[in-house]
Structure formats: C-alpha cells, structure tokens
Symmetry: C2
Subunit: 382 residues, 2 copies
C-alpha cells in the first residue's frame, strides 16, 4: 500500500468512540463503543478496527476501507523496533504510507495523543471551528432522521399530557392512580414512551411552578394544580443517533390571567421567530426580534433576588447528532444557511408566575422554514 | 482572593461536562450538560459556573466553592485588555490568584484548549495514567451505587427470562403475544424494566445463535428455539451515574449435550475466577487461570474461517462511573487492590454451537471478593 502523491488539503484525523463523539459517528455512520482511529485522504475514508469489530464495521459503516488494528500495531512495532506498537506509531506510519502532508483534528481531540503526535513530528493542526463544518447543513436523510427524533419527542409530550389530563386535583396536588403525581412519575412515562419509539430520552424536564423557572432544573417531587409545568423532551434515536427536541408547557386546573398572558406572549414570540428565520438572516437578528417582542409586551429580563428572570436563554440552537450544535440563535448567532436545523424555543420565567417555554424544530430554507416537529399547543388542562 | 503560598503537588484541571466525562462527575458529583472548568488546590475543589447553573451546582455538588463564570470572564478581559475573556484567560488568572505551580490534566483533556494553554504559558502536564487513580478503588457508598446498578441489570435479565419462558415455539421460532419474538422486542422489555428502576440501559445485548458469537453484536431479528441467547445488560443509574453490568445466557427449548457442556464449562470458569480473585493477585493471573481451564476442557481459542472463536475477550474489566475502566482482567491486567470493582465474565463462542457468557460484578477484598450482583443461573427454559 504505497501512495506517493502528496496531498494538499489537510486530512481529518479522529480518535474517539462513536457512541458519544458525533464527528466520529458522522464520519463513518457506525456505532463503536471504544475509541478508534479514522482519517480521510483524497476523499476516501479509512478506519482502524480490531478483529472483534472489523467485519461488523465493514458491513455497517460508510468507511471505504477498514484497516486491521492488530496488523498495523505489529507493522509499527517492526518499523520502529519496539516490543509493541502504539496508536502514535500507527499514525506515523499512515503519514508515510498515505502521503499525508498535514492532518487536521477537532478541538476536542484528546490532548494526550495530540502531544505524543507532536513529539513524534506528525504534522497536524487543530481545526479553528468544527472539524466537519458541513455537519451544520442537513440533507434530506438527516432531516428525516430529525423528524423521527421529534416524533419521539411528541409521543413523550403527549404521554405527559395524557397523564396530566387523567389526573385529579386534591388539595392543590395532582393525583394519579391513587398516588401523588410527581415530576419523576411523568418523566418515567415520557421516557418509556420514547423507548417504545426507539429513542433514548434522559434528563427529561418535567418542572412545575418555580422549578420551571430554572431552565436547568429537571424537576422533582409532587406536581401541583394551577401551576405551569415545563415539559422538555430531547431524545436520541438509537438507530442513527439524531435527536428530537421539543417543549410544551402545560397547566392542570385553571390558569390565572397572568399565566395566560405569559403563555400567549411566548407562543407569539415563537411565531415571530419562525416568521423571521430564513437563509441569510443572522441568528442574532432572530434572537433580538424575540427580545424586542418581550420587551414591548412589558416582560423585562433582569436579576431578581440574585436570580435571573425574564428571557434568560437563547432563542435556539442547532440540532443534529448532538443536542447542542451550531448555529446558535443568540446574541452572537451567525448568518443562517439553507439546511441549518435549529430549535426555536423562546421562554419567559418569573418566580411566582412560573416558567413557560415552547419549542419546535425547523430546517432553514431560502424563503423561510420547514417544520421538523409537530405537536398541538393546547396547554390548559381542566 | 489572593493566595500567595506556592503549591508543590500538581493541581488537577478539568474542562468537560459531567453527563459524559466520568472524571468531572467523580470530581464534583453533579451532572452538568455543558463543559465547565474545575480544579483543585490544597485539597479544596473549585468550579466555574454560569448564572443559570451556579445556584444548583452550589447546592448539589461537592465543590467547595463555585466561581462565577461571567465575573471571571469580565475580570480576565480587563486584565488582558481584551473585548471578551476566554477560558484560557481564566486559567491564566487562576494560576496567579491561586498560586498554582503546575496543573495536571487527563489524557482526554481537549487538545484545542491544551495548545492554547501551552501558548499562554500556563504550566501543566498530562497525566500518564488516570487523572484520579483513586477512582479504581470503590468506597462503601460507591459499592452500594454499583449494587443498585446491578439490581437494575438483574431486573432487566429477569424481564427477558420471563418473556422467553412465556413464549411458545412454532416451527423453531419463538412466539410471544401472537407475534414472532425478536431480539428487538426483548431488548425493549429489558430497557423499560431498567428505566422503571431509574437506570438507563442502551445497546443491551440480546443475541441468539451465531449472533451471540460476536460479542459486539447487539442482536436483531427473530429469536429461535434451542439456540443459546446471550443477554448482557449494562445500565447506568440516572441519579448517580454508576453502572450495573450482568450477563446471563438462556436457551428456550431443549439444549444439546454440546450446549450444556459449553454452558457448564463457562460457569465453572466463572467460579474459578471468583475463587482466584483477591487483593494482590494480578488481573493477568486471573485471566490465565480461566484460559487454562478452557484449554484443559478442550475449548481452544483460534481463528475459524477468518473469525475468532473460543475465549475471545478478557475475563473482566473495572466498573464504575464508566462501563469500562481500570483495572482489566486480561493478558496485561495489573495487581488487584482491595476496593477494585470488576466484572467477571468468561465466555465461549463457537459458530454452530452458539455463544455463552456469564457475568457478575464483585468488589475485591483482602481475602477474596464481595458479590455486587445477584441473579440465579438457571438457563434452559422449557
């Protein structure tokens, strides 16, 4: 295997498992639980696999060629006259055999290996931004996968809604099946509904009352009547790894005029954002439109007793193999491109009134958006 | 905040989220979905948190002090006369303010940040082995958490067993609820059973017949009568992040004498390994005892038609916040210490006969082992 031609464009180099590392999964489209080496050169993709994985990776992945880890470790040991070869040695061999002029690695490439490669004079640089910038524009197959993720989200949200509808109110608490209805019980029902759709949902948010005002609180303990309950479901489809991310805010009982105005304002903000988004507009502009809307409606964002309240997070984020990926819809959000898939999730949070967030997922088009999520917006459950 | 005393021992420095990064979770005992900076100095643990996370992290984590990310970014910007501060700038500030002589980072520390720190002359080295070597010895609270993980595994395995028992045989296929029983259906029942125990189980292995001979095949399609079915359940308890990892091998119908001898030999190998393990013995010795047992019983490990068969994986691995962690029970396994928690999972795999693996989890003690998993070993289901 001798390839003499010198390569000009840096060759991506990865060392990660693909259960967790999204670049590695994107690169080879195969789940591998342990870190492995992969690279591309001249448009061809290669990965090293051990004897237990090589035949499965060969049949399931999009790598053009699987190289035997054991063989190359042996080859490296002989070449560098060591008892056993190492990953670093294999990369050194690859540089020669594939005529690599320079590698490029992701910022999250493991530092331990990076410094060893430096010491071994393997030429590489660290990508300034993402290793695969093309990941931020989703093709039709990816959009379909993200719809599937959001269908799982919707199933989870509807399971929660049904449980809230079926509950009764007793002294201000919600009762279901003769027991107090808690965030934990609703979460479990959501996560089981997602599993039945082939998607893994974790840390699912079911946060009522003031708990819903802390966007990073997952919610715990008894749910109460007449309180806003934020339900945020972000599962990953087990088969391909793409996500759903959808939020609805419910209330069991009777809402106050203040709660109704809050929810209406958030929903209108979402409509405004959806109407603003199109290719060419910046994420920052979308975000500031939402901010301006809230301000005009009298909803201020500030600190209250040391805690932030109002519109305290970004309007949205990219969604794909990772739950948070570029581009962002926030103060510094970049120009949107056709194919970007983003969440649109304005929210308002005021202790005493409660929190409300409404979230859907869209693909950006030249002229607007294509909805990738679908679920009704009824929220007051008697 | 001025601390003048120079520190001699390198200070651990982390930049990772704690949903995935086990060191970060071990360090602060709090789940945070986005990467954050943490370090320790003079036995005190610090972390940076943004305004949305700081109060939750303050109440839930074991960090001694939470530092405001926004405040320190501002401070760094002023000190280094930049428009906005960066994570690198904050680390530079920390070196001065906490009188750090040297940091130590894990091998999986992100290379992007590592090279920026190098360029900013922040003194640090990369740990040769694990960042927190103490992670490999589990205290009583951790052993209890691992027991909880294994109780979830056992619940999943028993759910699978019940489904197989309840199934009927029709033309060699297994039928359940009027439909073909598949690996996928059994997997779903297992994962729901785990969820109901508060544990997340993914990629659960339910692999029958020759599929069970590939230890990295999760199993798919219809399950058949009279075939060995490997069921390997390795959930993570959502509340604290510790794992269970347990395998049983079942057969629905009637086993052949060859299958019975295979299963008996694997179970005897496991008993042998359990009797061999104690503090002071090497993992390599445990592994070679199992290898010798299989060889003596006539079960050879070799390649057959290009695929490995026999005893084709290690005897076990450390288990904790990660599913695979030190120490290993394999050819190069190190000396075991009291407190190590390891899986004990010999297996034999021969296409045509099937695969069998039996796995439990133990904590190593001075004189032997403490079982952390519990489930019966009946396997032939009529």
């Amino acid at each position: 295997m001798v390839r003499k031609k010198k390569i000009k464009k840096p060759s991506p180099l990865l060392y990660a498992d693909s259960d967790i590392n999204a670049d590695q999964l994107y690169f080879g489209k195969v789940f591998v639980p342990d870190p492995f080496l992969s690279f591309s050169v001249n448009g061809k993709k290669y990965a090293f696999a051990n004897s237990l994985e090589i035949s499965r990776m060969n049949s399931e992945s999009t790598f053009d060629e699987l190289l035997s880890l054991e063989e190359w470790l042996g080859k490296a040991a002989r070449r560098y006259r060591k008892k056993t070869g190492s990953i670093t040695d294999i990369v050194r061999l690859v540089v020669g055999e594939f005529a690599i002029s320079e590698f490029v690695v992701a910022p999250d490439f493991p530092a331990g290996l990076a410094f060893k490669l430096r010491a071994a004079r393997v030429p590489f640089k660290i990508a300034e931004g993402p290793l695969f910038p093309q990941r931020d524009c989703k093709n039709d197959a990816e959009a379909k996968a993200l719809k599937e993720g959001n269908a799982a989200s919707a199933t989870g949200i509807k399971a929660a809604e049904k449980m809230l509808r079926d509950s009764t109110i007793k002294k201000g608490n919600l009762m279901h099946g003769g027991r107090l209805l808690t965030s934990e019980r609703v979460r479990q029902v959501i996560e089981i509904a997602c599993l039945e759709k082939g998607a893994m949902s974790h840390k699912t948010i079911v946060a009522g009352g003031d708990q819903g005002c802390d966007p990073h609180c997952n919610g715990y303990g008894p749910l109460r009547a007449n309180e806003l309950i934020v339900v945020d479901v972000f599962p990953r489809v087990a088969r391909h790894g793409y996500h759903g991310d959808m939020t609805r805010t419910f209330l069991k009982g009777k809402a106050t005029p203040e709660q109704r105005r809050l929810v209406r304002t958030v929903r209108n903000a979402q409509k405004l954002a959806l109407a603003t988004i199109k290719a060419g507009i910046t994420g920052a502009k979308v975000h500031s439109a939402v901010e301006a809307h809230f301000k005009a409606e009298g909803y201020l964002t500030k600190k209250s007793n040391g805690s932030p309240e109002g519109f305290i997070h970004g309007t949205g984020h990219g969604l794909g193999l990772e739950i948070h990926e570029p581009p962002r819809l926030n103060k510094t959000g970049p120009r949107l491109k056709a194919g970007n898939v983003v969440t649109v999730e304005p929210g308002l949070y005021y202790r005493g009134v409660g929190g409300c967030r409404i979230e859907d997922v869209v693909r950006v088009t030249k002229s607007g958006v294509e909805m990738l999520s679908k679920c009704h917006y009824r929220w007051e459950l008697r």
